[in-house]
Amino acid sequence: MEKIYELMPQLITAFGQTFYMGFFTLTISAGLGIPLGTLLYLIRPGSMFEHRKIYWILDSLVNIIRSFPFLILMIAIIPFTRLIVGTSLGTNAVIVPLSISAIPDFARLIEQIMLDVNRGVIEMAESCGATTFQIVTKVLYREARSGIANTVTIISVLFVSYSTIAGVIGGGGIGDFAIRYGYYRYQPEVMFFTVILIIMLVQIIQTTGRIISTALDKRV
């Protein structure tokens, strides 16, 4: 316990880094992934703006990025990361691969969730003279909103897991802390304590997500 107490400042910093990475990763990946998922939904075969060629390209791209193991993705895109943030090391640098890996996850989940929206309601909106933009914002996002909240929850939990790998390129964060002080310095109790904290963090995300998603869902 004493060791943990001594490490408190480092632990707090690590948590700060995790939240910092989480905030930017989620904002960026949702900001790009949700529109991409919406586009996939709109142009998929049989949909409103069917466009097989573009769909095939985007669909494959999403599959390819999703199938990359995170560690390999992180290393593979180092040149790109350097281009964007000017360095390939540190907390900011880690946000790039984390976002890139989360964007296609977002896109795929959002596409699937929108497929569950009743076609009849979309048709109703069309009969009212709604533009595509109005259909997306006033019908699709409204009817799919609890599913979208679930998606954010899932990606947040994935983020906690992936962010632990970020230590490899000096990203910091709670996972990095566990490895650095718990594993390399061989302090099992520190490792144990940190893992408990991570479990609690995931629980909090999951519970909050469920509460929000339930509150948004008026279908039952």
Partner: protein, 247 residues
């Protein structure tokens, strides 16, 4: 009011080419209640969806208020659709929106200011006698109540035309009667032209002025209800006139 000229709609399916609507011409008068009746698969839904171009005909003209809708730009077509209400067999209400929000939806789409929206929604809620359900979500409503919300939504933007695709097919006979009485009242009070698609004789007989009988994509006969000059030729028409049961 609505002039359909030589409408043909073809679907290309895995099983081959399917002519859902085959060279149909009909003129529906202003203020009329007109029903398309026929067996399942006759092409009724496809035809009524051609009236607001939810389905784009492969040939023919859709003339509404002296305007061929097929010649309009997309943005103009969307504007025209704002003045054509539509109700559906399965209501198609937004599940995550209250009754109020559902009814005000077409006004939001049309860009009507909030204050006016509120007024109009309240008027329409009164028309369908659902003022007490204003804050409820659709999941809490019965089928008949859902369809009344859908009716209120369809008339909220003061349309000239109301399209109804099997509006009572999911409802019991008593509720059907209520819904039909609302439609009739709307037709009489606001002079809205109503087009109904149905396979129920009772619907056609209770509120319609004229009935078009459809079979395999063709409009085979048009019958004036309460007109005694015509003798129906089709099977459907005969049942309709003899006062026989539904199908």
């Amino acid at each position: 009011m609505i002039q359909l000229s030589n409408i043909t709609k073809v679907f290309h399916t895995a099983g081959g080419v399917l002519t859902a609507v085959d060279n149909v011409s009909v003129h529906i008068e202003k203020g009329e209640i007109f029903a398309f009746i026929g067996f399942s698969g006759a092409g009724k839904s496809t035809l009524i969806r051609c009236i607001n171009l939810l389905e784009k005909p492969d040939a023919g003209a859709v003339i509404v208020d002296n305007e061929n809708l097929l010649e309009l730009k997309k943005s103009e077509l969307l504007k025209r659709r704002q003045k054509v209400g539509m109700i559906f067999q399965h209501y198609n209400l937004l599940q995550n929106a209250t009754v109020f929000k559902n009814i005000s939806f077409p006004l939001e789409i049309a860009g009507v200011p909030k204050k006016q929206r509120h007024e109009r929604v309240m008027q329409c809620l009164e028309t369908v006698h659902l003022t007490d359900k204003i804050k409820d979500y659709p999941v809490k409503l019965s089928g008949g109540q859902k369809q009344r919300v859908a009716i209120a939504r369809a008339i909220v933007n003061e349309p000239k035309i109301l399209l109804c695709d099997e509006p009572t097919s999911a409802l019991d006979p008593q509720t059907t009667e209520t819904i039909l009485s609302y439609l009739k009242r709307i037709n009489e009070a606001f002079g809205i032209t109503i087009v109904i698609v149905t396979h129920e004789m009772s619907v056609a007989r209770t509120i319609c002025h004229r009935v078009g009988v459809m079979e395999r994509g063709c409009l085979i006969e048009t019958i004036t209800i309460n007109g005694d000059t015509e003798v129906p030729q089709s099977e459907f028409g005969k049942i309709l006139f003899s006062g026989g049961g539904g199908i």
